[in-house]
Amino acid sequence: MDAQQALADLTEISSQIQAAVVFDDKGKVAGSTHSDGEEFARVAGDLLAAAEELKTGASALTQLEIATGDGSVFVVRDGKSTIAATTAPQPTSGLVFYDLKSALRSVKPKPRPRRAPAAQKPAAKKAPPKKKPAAPRARKKPDAP
């Protein structure tokens, strides 16, 4: 699905989300509900980079929520794609995360269709199994006891 369409669906479904932007790891904006999507993506990227610096282990940061008095910021990352959104204060966090993940999943490009397999040689016809010559039956002599 187109990122812009996915964001339109997202803001229609979730009344809590005020603005959202989808961008890649290089900061390229795929879609935004805001007129200045580039700037929105840039500050969201800065926030994500600052949060990355706080990690203690080797595991990658996948999502974050920052609650302030003015509202909350949510960022969800999946591979190279990232979605950032803002909400009013005290949102239902679980629901917002669920909606953002669904939107990000729908934005993901479809995998390329596989190449048509090369024309395969017709399988060699199986030769019908040869009949084994019947084992010579031991004939009983009619006069045998």
């Binding site: 200045d36 500050v43 600052a50 949060a51």
Partner: protein, 68 residues
């Protein structure tokens, strides 16, 4: 009889006021919750060094996201 009723009302009123106070305080706590791939989570409340760094950036994101 009156005394015991007054005591019950007093206790209930105290509980209600206490709950409202706690709810009001916790609702206004600014915090940053970071979730990692391995399932771990780091919660930073206002005043911690990490939150001090992230909260201004989050405010910046919110102000940028507002319709101009």
């Amino acid at each position: 009889m009156r005394r015991s009723a007054a005591a019950v009302f007093g206790v209930l009123g105290g509980l209600f006021i206490g709950a409202a106070f706690i709810r009001r305080r916790t609702a206004h706590v600014e915090r940053a919750d970071l979730y990692f791939e391995d399932g771990s989570m780091l919660s930073l409340t206002n005043g911690s060094p990490g939150a001090e760094r992230l909260l201004p950036l989050a405010r910046q994101v919110i102000s940028r996201a507002r319709p101009s």
